[in-house]
């Protein structure tokens, strides 16, 4: 199937129409551009926002833990004398002070041997203040040193993540917020996560750093000479709540989401603007190409800028200009040739008319002397001029035969000229084809009898009436049956039959038992003066009969055709339009 120009243009500009059968493929370039840009921007902004949120969570948590570690270290320093002296009231006052900090959930001060000196908590950790079983509420301490502190401060021994599950604190293996916890924070839930910061309480260093006398003495007094590290007197365990941090994170996350949505909206608007900016010239080009394909080659597209699309537009404009010029030139040439052809046709028609006129005049002029010659010859043969010898009679009879052949040729030529000159004039009347055919059979009965040929006329019960010129149809049937008699061998049969192929058509078949028609000649036997190869030279004929018959059948909007019959012979079929089926000849 040849693609149409419109489909070619559509395929060229918009790509294949249906490959995947999806809406993305069939959607416009602008939509695809917007979709892809939006998708890319959404992914990029989404990833950046996610990375920012993760970093935000990490940084905030790190800051919180750093602050907690600093507080725990300061508490370890502040409590070291009280721990050394076993001053429990002072430690509890210190604990109260520490618990005043929002993020502090609990503070436990114990000796190195595990003796509880002070334990206070709030919220979920209130049980600590009530001196309940400490092991039930405080998870075991891992032995992982998290980071070192400055020289003056004790090291942070561990930072442990604790999560409340089923009213029991459990140690979590990871020390950061998990993805699920972050998602819970984002949706506004509070995650019961705490951080336990353990800091050892070191035995106090010399009171004053500049007091060499006291410092050296106390240091030597406290240090066993083989001992390497400073003695530890106790342990601070500070619980840091992340609830406040989570609330701050929620606020920050909501703001981040708002900013992200804003950025996406801005990115969407930019995408639409950019896609339109890019595709508007292409759409203009598409419309122009469609108009050009419809024949409007005067269409031009305005160019903007000097980008690839503008260059394409320039090429398109140049192409349409060239096509327009070429079309105009072609139209001019076609007009010129048409005019020349019309003139030639008129000349040919005039020549043909003159030829027909000349033929008619010649035939007409020949017929009169021939008729006179025939009359005189008849008189001679009848003995009007005296008795004739047998030889004279024989010569005169041959002359008579040739005169008759010449007279028949002239008659047919005159008929052809008459038909050609009066071809559009038919005197149509309802005609009973069987009756007309019977007349022809009767007229040619003598000719057939001379050649011992039987004419079989097969009629049918209901033959439709034909609206036609009876004289011309009589001529047609006479030609066909006479032709069949001529080309049938002696003693054979010519069959005439009828068939109604449809209520509005009647086929009349004339079949002989001659040699048939050479298949290569079937199309040529209706040409004027053409005689078939198989026709015997003895068979007289002008070669105009079939042509005239065909011409007259076509004047009745019918069709004349010939076929070879199996078993020998030819079958000529005349198909004529029938009148309404109600008018049936019986």
């Amino acid at each position: 199937m040849t693609p149409t120009p419109e489909s070619l243009i559509r395929r060229t500009i918009l790509g294949p129409e249906k490959k995947w059968g999806t809406s993305v493929v069939t959607s416009s370039l602008q939509t695809k551009l917007i979709a892809w840009m939006l998708l890319t921007l959404m992914v990029a902004i989404g990833l950046l926002s996610a990375a920012f949120l993760m970093q935000l969570c990490r940084s905030s948590l790190k800051s919180l833990l750093q602050g907690g570690a600093d507080l725990a270290q300061h508490l370890a320093v502040a409590s070291r004398y009280s721990v050394l002296a076993g001053d429990t009231p002072a430690l509890q006052r210190l604990s109260d002070t520490a618990l005043a900090v929002d993020q502090v959930a609990y503070l436990v001060i114990m000796t190195e041997q595990g003796l509880m000196l002070s334990a206070k908590g709030k919220g979920s950790w209130l049980a600590l203040s009530e001196r309940e079983e400490i092991t039930l509420t405080l998870p075991p301490l891992p032995i992982t040193v998290v980071h070192r502190s400055s020289e003056q401060m004790p090291e942070v021994r561990s930072i442990t993540k604790i999560r409340y599950k089923d009213v029991q604190p459990r140690v979590e293996p990871n020390d950061r917020f998990t993805l699920m916890e972050i998602l819970s924070i984002i949706v506004g839930q509070t995650v019961p996560v705490f951080y336990d910061i353990a800091v050892p309480i070191l035995r106090p260093h010399p009171i004053a750093p500049h007091d060499a006398g006291l410092g050296v003495m106390l240091e030597q007094a406290q240090t066993i000479v083989t001992q390497d590290s400073p003695t530890t007197d106790g342990l601070i365990r500070l619980g840091i709540s992340t609830v406040a941090l989570q609330h701050e994170l929620q606020s920050l996350i909501y703001r981040t989401i708002l900013i992200t949505v804003g950025l996406l909206l801005a990115a969407g608007i930019l995408s639409v603007w950019f896609a339109r900016h890019l595709t508007t010239p292409l759409q203009a080009l598409t419309r122009a190409a469609a108009r050009a394909s419809e024949g409007d080659l005067s269409v031009r597209v305005a160019t903007h800028g000097r980008d690839e699309v503008s260059r394409l537009t320039d090429v398109f404009n140049g192409m349409t200009a060239s096509l327009e010029s070429l079309t105009q030139s072609l139209e001019l040439r076609v007009e010129e040739r048409t005019l020349a052809l019309a003139e030639a046709n008129a000349k040919l028609q005039e020549l043909d008319r003159r030829k027909s006129h000349s033929l008619f005049t010649t035939s007409h002029e020949l017929r009169t002397p021939l008729t006179s010659m025939k009359l005189h010859l008849d008189n001679l043969l009848d003995g009007v001029g005296g008795s004739l010898t047998d030889k004279q009679t024989s010569v005169l009879q041959r002359i008579m035969v040739n005169i008759k052949r010449l007279q028949q040729f002239i008659e047919e030529s005159l008929n052809l000229s008459r038909i050609e000159s009066e071809q559009k004039t038919l005197n149509r009347d309802p005609v009973n084809p069987i009756s007309l055919m019977s007349t022809v059979v009767e007229n040619l009965g003598l000719v057939a009898q001379k050649r011992n040929i039987a004419i079989e006329h097969y009629t049918i019960t209901a033959v439709p009436v034909i609206l036609g010129d009876p004289a011309k149809l009589l001529h047609v049937f006479t030609n066909l049956i006479e032709n069949a008699i001529k080309f049938s061998p002696m003693g054979s049969t010519v069959a005439i039959s009828y068939a109604t192929e449809s209520p509005h058509a009647l086929s009349i078949r004339v079949r002989d038992q001659g040699q048939g028609v050479d298949p290569s000649e079937i199309d040529r036997i209706f040409e004027p003066f053409y005689r078939g190869k198989l026709s015997e030279a003895s068979i007289a004929g002008s070669g105009l009969g079939l042509m005239i018959a065909k011409h007259l059948v076509e004047l009745h909007n019918g069709r004349l055709s010939v076929d070879n019959v199996i078993g020998g012979g030819a079958c000529f079929t005349v198909t004529l339009p029938a009148m309404d089926s109600t008018a049936v000849a019986r």
């Binding site: 009171i207 004053a208 050296v216 083989t226 001992q227």
Partner: protein, 323 residues
């Protein structure tokens, strides 16, 4: 060409004669026990004295004797010309590993009691001479005749006899109170204070501790007994006065000993010298609180005087008692 090269070589040799190169610098290693301020001051003092003659490398033990031994072992292989050990841990590491290079110990309270008997060990004690301490006490608190002394036989026993002799020379009567453990201190002090005009606090490890300092000062202030000690911190906290040794001075003295060792000069006197430079510290607030007035001579000679608003032990109580 050869002549030209010979001229250049001659000129270079002349330059060497005119500007002689300095003698080869000594390699000095300073082992520092930890990064405490007074140790740093001592290192600075020693460095100040030695820096002109030696290339000094400071090693920090970070309070770790085992690590210090590794450093000292490395130093033994390198054989520096001199090792200065600042603090007890550095001195112990040097004692265990360094046998050839001379070692000068400083910032150790009583170095002779830690068995630094090797021939290559020298040092500076942190304890001023007893006579200096008692003289300063006599000068600062002239009215005091009975001077109490809390001591543990293990740490202060050897000092007691000479101290008694020196006290007698100065017209003082030493009233010793023996304790065996820190738990004996409260009873001993409460028993002692009524019998004395002043309390002389010496660097006894059983007597002086973080927990006991405030107790001693509060008790003596309550009993209106002036305390003469060895520490500016104690003076700040409530002691009347003290004869103190500065870290920088101790370092300088150790540096001077080391310098003599580097120059192969003979070391006169004991291997562990007493501090050459001491300083008198007075707390005029405490004097005022006790109703005492230090002599002008003492005030003039004092290097550190604490007066005006400042730290005072048992502040709540003392504020109420102050006029």
């Amino acid at each position: 060409m050869f002549i030209f090269r010979a001229i250049i070589a001659a000129l270079l040799s002349l330059t060497g004669l005119i500007f002689p190169m300095p003698a080869t610098a000594f390699d000095v290693a300073i082992l520092k026990s930890s990064d405490l301020t007074y140790y740093n001051e001592a290192v600075a003092g020693a460095t100040h004295v030695l820096t002109a003659d030696a290339t000094i490398t400071v090693y920090n033990l970070h309070g770790n004797v085992t690590g210090g031994r590794s450093i000292a072992e490395k130093l033994r292989a390198e054989q520096p010309d001199l090792v200065i050990a600042v603090g007890l841990k550095a001195a112990l590491a040097a004692k265990l590993e360094i046998f050839d290079s001379p070692v000068v110990v400083c910032m150790v309270m009583a170095p002779e009691s830690y068995g630094f008997t090797a021939a290559n060990f020298y040092g500076v004690s942190m304890q001023p001479p007893v006579e200096h301490q008692l003289t300063s006490l006599r000068t600062s608190i002239p009215h005091a005749r009975r001077v109490g002394l809390l001591y543990d036989e293990r740490f202060t026993g050897p000092l007691l006899q000479s101290a008694a002799l020196e006290a007698e020379k100065l017209g003082l009567h030493l009233v010793p109170a023996l304790i065996a453990t820190p738990d004996d201190l409260p009873t001993a002090l409460r028993t002692l204070t009524p019998k004395i005009d002043a309390l002389w606090l010496v660097q006894d490890q059983t007597v002086i501790s973080e927990a006991s300092v405030r107790f001693i000062l509060e008790t003596t202030l309550d009993a209106k007994v002036p305390v003469f000690s060895f520490s500016t911190t104690l003076v700040q906290l409530g002691a009347f006065g003290a004869l103190v040794v500065d870290g920088t001075d101790a370092g300088r003295q150790a540096g001077s000993i080391g310098k003599r060792l580097l120059r192969k000069e003979p070391i006169k006197g004991p291997r562990f010298a007493r501090p050459e430079k001491t300083e008198l510290a007075l707390n005029l607030n405490v004097a005022s609180y006790l109703g005492l007035k230090p002599p002008d001579q003492a005030v003039r000679s004092a290097g550190k005087i604490f007066s005006g608003p400042g730290n005072l032990a048992k502040r709540e109580a003392s504020e109420a008692l102050l006029p």
